[in-house]
Symmetry: C2
Subunit: 291 residues, 2 copies
Amino acid sequence: MSLLSIDHVSKAFGSHNVLSDISLTFEEGKIYGLLGRNGAGKSTLLNIITDRIFANSGEVHMDSENVADNDSKLGMMYLMSEVDLYNDGDKLTKIMKDTELLYGGFDHELAESLATKFGLDLNQKFGKLSTGYNSIFKLIVALSVPAKFILLDEPVLGLDANHRELFYSELIQTFSDRPRTFIISTHLIEEVANIVSDVVMIDMGHVLLDQSVESILTKNHSVVGPSEEVDQYTNGLNVIGSEQMSNLKTNYVFGNLNDDRPIPDTVQVGSFDLQKLFIFLTNIQGNGGSY
Amino acid sequence: MSLLSIDHVSKAFGSHNVLSDISLTFEEGKIYGLLGRNGAGKSTLLNIITDRIFANSGEVHMDSENVADNDSKLGMMYLMSEVDLYNDGDKLTKIMKDTELLYGGFDHELAESLATKFGLDLNQKFGKLSTGYNSIFKLIVALSVPAKFILLDEPVLGLDANHRELFYSELIQTFSDRPRTFIISTHLIEEVANIVSDVVMIDMGHVLLDQSVESILTKNHSVVGPSEEVDQYTNGLNVIGSEQMSNLKTNYVFGNLNDDRPIPDTVQVGSFDLQKLFIFLTNIQGNGGSY
């Protein structure tokens, strides 16, 4: 099992610190959600991991080897990002063959089956693709390379609901057929909540949270009822957000409830979702940078 | 109350029919979701309504007056789209003043309050805005003009979850303070499902659905159970989609259930959401065009 570790990575653009001493480990065979506000440093981190830009300090290791300038390790990673690496004049079939040469393998069967499902003609030129199909083609390539670590930066931006759903189900299918590691950066948090096994939240260049979804969701508690009772019951707990609707107050708790304290009859305890957790946690921390 | 009506509008680009004989009515004081797949013709329709591009046939009327070249009627509409109409060198404050001259009014108090909430400095130049803040500024202008019909084309594209939630809640607030008509085209259907009162679905240049959300949701039924029982119970009903998970089958019905037929004990009837309805209906109709 391969391990990808980010060790004390920092990066500044001019006087702006984008990443401050980030340390993280990505294990093989998991699907990670890399979540952060606009400007939080997600894309910078993905580009540093894949050696496209340099960190000011810190290193990225795969199985204890530094990946910088390390072609064999870099060949085990694939980053799909908004930046196009291909020539507009190249046919999609040619790009797939070139990628095969670079990565020493390419699942043509999967690529062709995905192209059919998404309604993409592979005999056209890259530069002729619309925004949506540009993303779709890059996604197809990302799923078809033999790399162990697949990094997807905003993979569904601009895709309609049908194509997003198709992508999520194909991702689960290919992951189950050939387990590898996916690191998915996205703003559509609720849509990936059922797909990712682990979540890394980045805020203001720091790691805010690095946990399994399962463990996160057991800590999300909504406490609803009359203001006074709700505040009394959640007093001392980790309340990360609040909402008031006429007489009903909801306090959102991230962490353990106080099991020694009885829940008043007027108060209801439920759960809340990953996107809401993200919004509360990053609002507390403040805006992670400029757009 | 003003009424905006689209009467038999058709539009082709070259040999490609984008809109085929579209007729629709938008009433004042409602929030419409304009839903369609990529390439379905949504942006074309919004541009025709606001006289930015010409229809090949058909007309757009506001209160029985043709809006084409009709400055007083066009001044009652505002379209926020991906296309930037402003000069990169202009300060945001200047753009707001220019908009006020054009529209005969501008809610500066609201604009400034929104800018503070979104963390946008209005003393900078338009061309300096990042993608996210470019959208946010255009949204702020759209909410602050005195127009009666506000058309928003993919308003939250690229916004992070926090800013999307802030936008939705500010939209509801301004709508309640000053009811007018919003027509929102978006791919994030589930996120707007609680905000819009009415839905217009466009597919392959045709109107696929034009109903209130309330009425739509009463027609969405999921029927889950053993395949045979489920198929038997839904036989003759309007089944728009199906899912199979090992022995459990779900048939999705859009329309009335057969109340004369008893529901078998092994079968559970529930509901499903707007985004799922959209995916099923547009999958049946086929892809509405090229990206």
